[in-house]
C-alpha cells in the first residue's frame, strides 16, 4: 500500500452526485411502500372528493369544463410541490443537525455540490414517481381531457427544483426545526390555497393576485392545467418556464452557499 505514495490519483466516480442519489434510494427502499400507497390514494380521493363531491355543487363547471377536469392539473402541481418541500425540509435538517450524514459524505471525495445535487436528484425522483402515479390514477378514472397531459411530468420536475432548491437552502440555514413548521404555515399552505389550485387566481383582489403570480406554484399550475385540458396556458409557456428556471437556479446557488458554510468549517 505504501508503494506509490504521493501524487497517485485514484479513479473517482464520473458523476459523483449519482452515488449520492444511490445512497438516498437505498434508504428509500425501506419506506417506499407507505409512500407508494399514499401516492395512489391521494389522487383517487381527489377525483372522488372533488369530482363527485364538490363538483356536483358547481353545476356550470369552470370555463366550460367540469370542476374535476379543471382542478386536476392544479392538484397535480400542488402534489409535486408538497412532495418536493417535504423531501427538502426535515430530511435536509436531519442530515445536517441530527444524523450528520452530510458531514460523513463530506469526508469522502464528494464535493459540496455533489452532496446537494444528489439530494435534489432524489427529490426529483420522489416528485416524478408521485406525479406519474397521479397521472395514471386520474387518467384511468377519466379525469384527463387531453393526451398533452404527459407534459405535466417535465413541468412538475421543473417546479420541484424551483421549490426544493430554495427550501434546501432554508432548511440548511435554520438552527431549529420549528422554523420548518413555519415554512409550511406561512408559505406552503397559503401558496396551495391561493395560487390557483382550487379557484382561478382572477377571482382574487388585484394585490393578492400579484402575490399569487409571484409564487412558483401558480406558474406550474397554469402550465399543468393547460396541458391536462389541452388548451393554451394563461401566460406564455416560455415565460412560465423561464420564471421557474430562475427560482431553480437562484435556489441552487443559495443552497450551495449555505451548505458550504455548514460543511466547510
Amino acid at each position: 500500500m505504501t508503494a506509490q505514495l504521493t501524487r497517485d490519483r485514484r479513479p473517482l466516480p464520473r458523476v459523483p452526485a449519482l452515488r449520492v442519489l444511490e445512497y438516498h434510494l437505498v434508504g428509500y427502499r425501506r419506506t417506499w411502500r407507505a409512500g407508494a400507497f399514499s401516492s395512489f390514494l391521494l389522487p383517487t380521493l381527489t377525483v372522488l372528493g372533488f369530482g363527485l363531491g364538490v363538483g356536483s355543487y358547481i353545476d356550470q363547471g369552470v370555463g366550460g369544463v367540469s370542476y374535476l377536469e379543471w382542478i386536476v392539473g392544479g392538484l397535480l402541481a400542488s402534489t409535486a410541490l408538497q412532495v418536493a418541500i417535504a423531501e427538502s425540509t426535515w430530511p435536509v435538517f436531519g442530515n445536517l443537525q441530527w444524523q450528520k450524514i452530510y458531514f460523513g459524505q463530506r469526508s469522502s471525495p464528494l464535493r459540496v455540490g455533489d452532496i446537494l445535487a444528489g439530494h435534489l436528484a432524489f427529490v426529483l425522483f420522489r416528485v416524478l414517481t408521485s406525479v406519474i402515479a397521479f397521472l395514471l390514477v386520474t387518467g384511468v378514472l377519466g379525469a384527463l381531457r387531453s393526451p398533452w397531459a404527459v407534459l405535466t411530468v417535465p413541468v412538475a420536475a421543473l417546479l420541484a427544483l424551483a421549490v426544493a432548491a430554495p427550501t434546501f437552502a432554508y432548511a440548511a440555514s435554520v438552527d431549529s426545526d420549528s422554523w420548518l413548521a413555519m415554512l409550511f404555515r406561512f408559505a406552503v399552505i397559503p401558496m396551495t390555497l391561493f395560487a390557483g389550485v382550487f379557484f382561478p387566481v382572477e377571482s382574487l383582489p388585484l394585490a393578492l393576485r400579484w402575490l399569487a403570480y409571484a409564487t412558483p406554484l401558480w406558474h406550474a399550475v397554469d402550465l399543468c392545467r393547460a396541458a391536462v385540458l389541452g388548451v393554451a396556458p394563461y401566460w406564455s409557456v416560455a415565460g412560465h418556464l423561464a420564471y421557474l428556471a430562475v427560482w431553480a437556479a437562484g435556489g441552487w446557488l443559495l443552497a450551495r452557499r449555505v451548505l458550504a458554510r455548514r460543511l466547510v468549517v
Partner: protein, 310 residues
C-alpha cells in the same frame, strides 16, 4: 519506522474560528507507515487539526500538504486516499450495518460487487459480521464506533485518521480495536490518531505530540517523552486529610518533582521503594501508597497541568 516519505507536512498550521485561534501555528510531519498521535486536554485543537488534515476544514494560515497535494485545491483526490473516523459517529441509523459500508464505498467510485465483498471482509475485521443485516439504530455505542472505523477502511486508505477511536468502548472492544489498528500498521497503513488514553498512545504510537491551547508543547516517541518529562518511577501518596496540600511541602526534598492533585500527591523519583522508606522516616503516614513506573500520564500532567479526565 520513520524512514518512509512524509505523507503529511504541516508548517505553522493555523485554524481560526472568528477571532478565536484553535490551532496556533503547529509543525507536524507524519511519514509513511508511521502511527502518529495527537494528545492534549479538551479544547487543545486536536479535532480541528484532524479536520484540516482530512481536507474538510481549510487552514486559516500556514502550509499543509497531504500526500504531496494541496488540501484546498486537491481535496477530492486526497480524500479518496484517506479514511476518516470522526470524533462523533455520523452513520445512517436507518440503514443496515452493511448498507452503511456499501453506500459509503460507492462515493469512492468502488464497483458494487467489490463494495459488497469489502463490507463483508471489514465487518468480520471489526467483529460485526453477525450484525451485518441489522439496522444501525439499535447497536450499542461501541458497535457503532467499530462500524465507523470499518467505514474508514472501505476505500483501502493510505492514511487513516482516527479521532478518539476508542472513546466509549469497553476494555474488550478497545483491545480488539488496538489489535486491528496494529494489524493495519503492519500492512503499511499510516495511522494518525487522537486519544485521551495514555495506554492507547503508548501501545499504538511510534511518535506523538502533546497539544495544549492550540500549540504543540512536546513531541517525540512515548519512551523519549517519558524519559524527558517524567522519572523512572513515581510514588503516589494519598493522605487521609481533606487537603493533600499540607503534606506537599514536606515531600519536596524527596524527589525530582512533586505534583499535588486534589486526591493524591505524586512524587517523581528514580527509585520508588527508597522514596517510600524516606516518607516513613519523615514520620508521615499516608493512607495509601503506590509505586509505579513513570508513564505518559505523568508527561501529560507535567506538560499541561491537567490529568486525563475526559
Amino acid at each position: 519506522m520513520t524512514t518512509g516519505r512524509p505523507l503529511i507536512q504541516a508548517q505553522g498550521l493555523v485554524k481560526r474560528f472568528g477571532d478565536f485561534t484553535a490551532v496556533d501555528g503547529i509543525d507536524v510531519e507524519v511519514r509513511a507507515g508511521e502511527a502518529f498521535g495527537f494528545l492534549g486536554p479538551n479544547g487543545a485543537g486536536k479535532s480541528s487539526t484532524m479536520r484540516m488534515i482530512g481536507c474538510t476544514s481549510p487552514p486559516s494560515g500556514g502550509e499543509l500538504r497531504i500526500l504531496g497535494m494541496d488540501p484546498v485545491r486537491d481535496g477530492p483526490a486526497i480524500r479518496a486516499r484517506l479514511g476518516v473516523c470522526p470524533q462523533l459517529d455520523n452513520l445512517d441509523p436507518e440503514l443496515t450495518v452493511r448498507e452503511n459500508l456499501t453506500t459509503y464505498a460507492r462515493y469512492f467510485g468502488i464497483p458494487r460487487r467489490v463494495a459488497r465483498a469489502r463490507a463483508t471482509e471489514l465487518l468480520d475485521f471489526v467483529q460485526l459480521g453477525d450484525r451485518a443485516d441489522s439496522k444501525v439504530e439499535p447497536l450499542s455505542g461501541g458497535m457503532k464506533r467499530r462500524l465507523t472505523i470499518a467505514r474508514a477502511l472501505v476505500n483501502e486508505p493510505d492514511i487513516v485518521l482516527l479521532d478518539e477511536p476508542t472513546t466509549g468502548l469497553d476494555p474488550q472492544a478497545r483491545h480488539l480495536v488496538w489489535e486491528r489498528l496494529f494489524r493495519l500498521k503492519q500492512q503499511g497503513v499510516t495511522l494518525v490518531l487522537t486519544t485521551h488514553y495514555m495506554d492507547e498512545a503508548e501501545q499504538l504510537c511510534d511518535r506523538l505530540v502533546v497539544m495544549d491551547g492550540g500549540r504543540i508543547v512536546a513531541e517525540g516517541s512515548p519512551r523519549a517523552l517519558i524519559e524527558r518529562h517524567a522519572t523512572r518511577e513515581v510514588v503516589e501518596l494519598r493522605f487521609a486529610a481533606e487537603s493533600q496540600e499540607a503534606f506537599a511541602g514536606k515531600l519536596d526534598a524527596l524527589g525530582e518533582r512533586v505534583e499535588v492533585l486534589p486526591d493524591r500527591i505524586l512524587v517523581y523519583v528514580p527509585d520508588g521503594d527508597a522514596a517510600v522508606a524516606e516518607v516513613a522516616a519523615l514520620g508521615l503516614h499516608p493512607a495509601n501508597v503506590l509505586v509505579r513506573r513513570g508513564s505518559l500520564e505523568d508527561v501529560f500532567l507535567h506538560l499541561t497541568g491537567r490529568t486525563l479526565v475526559d
